[in-house]
């Protein structure tokens, strides 16, 4: 029973990182109806840059984290300017945007390979002080708590921002109808760029937390989370932010429970992708409907 509980808790921790990653995906999809496949590359670069700052610039992780997050946000601006803005008025913009973001993902990944090498690297042991607690037979580390708290703060912050701030309302207006938003005097192009900034900053932050949690970072670590992120946002409903959070945690749980029940890690992704497949066929709008970014 304790092992089961332990797995549930682990699933929530890793699921919160998936959720954070997926929010960035779903935010861009909600606003623009396009899939940004370079998101996973930003996730990787965010983690690697934070590691570089800790290791080579000897910064504390508490300083490296915001800096690497900021840099990820700037990468988002680059993605928008290079891959999406020039194609926005093409009739097949969602398809060509998908392709150009794949191109950028390849370029980013090759940059990560060139700069950081192909090896798996890890944060130095003393990056963050880890306390280990035993509560009712379940092991929880301070790192896990910190990861969940950071993820939860970022998610709550984003929700508040979209609901109450002026720029957040503008983002929702553009998601609802770009034309009308433009007529209302919203500077649509800067709002879209800003959306990419937030989305990528969150993706980069997820990469850093992922690297801290697993202790390992590599240039191709974005590949597996890219598919998981897609599964999460389909599960939660494309464009829905609460859906992405709940979908992320559900996905994290399904992973650890599959491993715990089947006893092998080979089947880890099987359940998740089968569920994804079933949801697409039975309820393509996901569990939390579409376009909730407008209402969040």
């Amino acid at each position: 029973m304790n092992i089961f509980l332990q797995q549930l808790i682990n699933g929530v921790f890793i699921g919160s990182v998936y959720g954070l990653f997926a929010i960035g995906y779903t935010l861009v999809f909600g606003v623009l109806d396009i899939l940004n496949l370079a998101h996973a590359a930003v996730f990787t670069l965010g983690g690697l840059v934070a590691l570089w700052l800790v290791q080579n610039a000897a910064l504390s992780i508490w300083l490296a984290f915001p800096l690497a997050t900021l840099l990820s946000g700037i990468l988002g601006l680059v993605i928008n300017a290079v891959a999406f803005a020039p194609l926005r008025h093409r009739p097949d913009t969602y398809f060509s945007g998908l392709i150009s973001s794949i191109a950028l993902a390849i370029i980013f990944e090759s940059a990560a390979l060139g700069i950081f090498g192909a090896r798996t690297v890890r944060f130095p042991i003393n990056t963050i002080t880890v306390h280990i607690w035993q509560v009712a037979g379940v092991t929880i580390t301070s790192l896990q708590i910190e990861i969940v708290l950071i993820a939860a703060c970022l998610m709550a912050g984003l929700t508040w921002f979209l609901r109450h701030s002026r720029a957040g309302k503008a983002i929702r207006a553009v998601a609802e109808n770009e034309r009308t938003a433009r007529l209302l005097g919203i500077h649509v192009d800067s709002i879209i760029a800003f959306t990419f900034f937030i989305s990528s900053a969150l993706g980069g932050a997820a990469g850093i937390l992922f690297g801290l949690y697993f202790g390992a970072l590599s240039p191709d670590m974005g590949r597996s989370i890219e598919l998981k992120g897609l599964a999460v946002i389909v599960l939660g409903g494309m464009g829905s932010i609460p859906g992405a959070i709940i979908g992320g945690i559900a996905f994290g749980l399904s992973e650890v429970l599959t491993v715990a029940i089947s006893g092998t890690s080979n089947l880890r992704d099987a359940v998740a992708f089968t569920v994804l497949f079933a949801i697409l066929l039975l309820r393509p709008s996901g569990l939390f409907g579409r376009k909730q970014i407008r209402e969040t």
Binding site: I102, I106, S110, L267, A270, F273
Partner: protein, 285 residues
């Protein structure tokens, strides 16, 4: 040195590259068929895997003749595509892409976990039966088939669905039937290519048919151009040969090769939306 000698020497050096170009061209065409009906499938790499495993298992365990194994692989991929196609092709755009991607992942995970597919290490040793002339005969036949298909009633139906699915439906075209047909023809070509590839490389592993492979097929199509069947062949040939070309001009670092790959794709989608073939043909259709 006579011509024959030059040719043999060239083939001795570049033989495997030429074979890979042929296989990749077939795979690229398999996606082209689906794209020509306006459907973005990321499942074709998985269909190649299904074909490869089917043929490999048949020749390894049952001693089935090579040609029979190829036919069986083609039919098997086609059958899976029919079963998968009817439910999945109701989805549009990105959702179809994600659903086919999920299908590909399920196939990959199955291949890792099943005994008969050899698990994570892959299926080996598959007898080496594929020769260059077979690959290129298949490519020529498929190319001819594509040229005929394009001018047929089926080809026009594909094109009308690609341009506007709702309008095509309103015109009385049975879109579900034609979309499934495009999906199935694509899967069969992919299955054939996968089977030939398995009998060329002695081995087939689950990793070969994952997400990156599926995306690579899409890249061949975009770089070459999807308006005519030889566009994907051009894209596949160029990008398969790219590492050799780069080596020729003194660039051998992995990251640079990968970066150039991405850069070409980016330039094509930004400045040549109809692919490299649009450089040669003036016809705009």
């Amino acid at each position: 040195m006579d011509l024959h000698h030059i040719f043999t020497q060239f083939y001795a050096v570049y033989g495997s590259l030429i074979n890979f170009i042929g296989i990749n061209s077939l795979l690229a065409i398999s996606l082209y068929v689906t794209l020509s009906a306006g459907q973005l499938s990321l499942g074709n790499a998985a269909f190649a895997g299904i074909g490869g495993y089917t043929a490999g298992i048949l020749t390894m365990y049952l001693n089935v003749p090579y040609m029979v194994a190829l036919c069986a692989a083609t039919l098997m991929s086609g059958a899976v595509a029919v079963v998968l196609g009817f439910p999945v092709l109701r989805l549009r755009g990105v959702f179809l892409a994600i659903a086919t991607l999920a299908f590909g992942e399920v196939v990959r995970i199955l291949a890792i976990n099943l005994q008969i597919t050899g698990g994570a290490e892959g299926l080996t040793p598959i007898p080496n039966k594929t020769q260059a002339w077979m690959i290129f005969t298949a490519l020529a036949l498929v190319g001819y088939f594509m040229a005929v298909l394009r001018r047929s009633r089926i080809g026009w139906s594909f094109a009308s669905i690609r341009e506007d699915e709702t309008a095509a439906k309103a015109m009385g075209i049975n879109t579900t039937w034609y979309k499934t047909l495009a999906f199935t023809i694509g899967a069969m070509i992919a299955g054939l290519a996968g089977a030939m590839s398995a009998h060329l490389n002695y081995i087939i592993t689950p990793g070969e048919f994952g997400f990156s492979a599926a995306v690579q097929l899409l890249i061949y199509n975009i770089v070459g151009g999807t308006r005519i069947w030889y566009g994907p062949v051009l894209g596949a040939a160029l990008l398969t040969a790219l590492p050799e070309i780069l080596r020729g001009i003194g660039v051998s670092a992995g990251p640079v090769r990968m970066g150039v790959n991405g850069f070409i794709l980016l330039m094509v989608i930004l400045f040549l939306p109809n692919g490299l073939v649009s450089l040669f043909s003036r016809r705009k259709d």
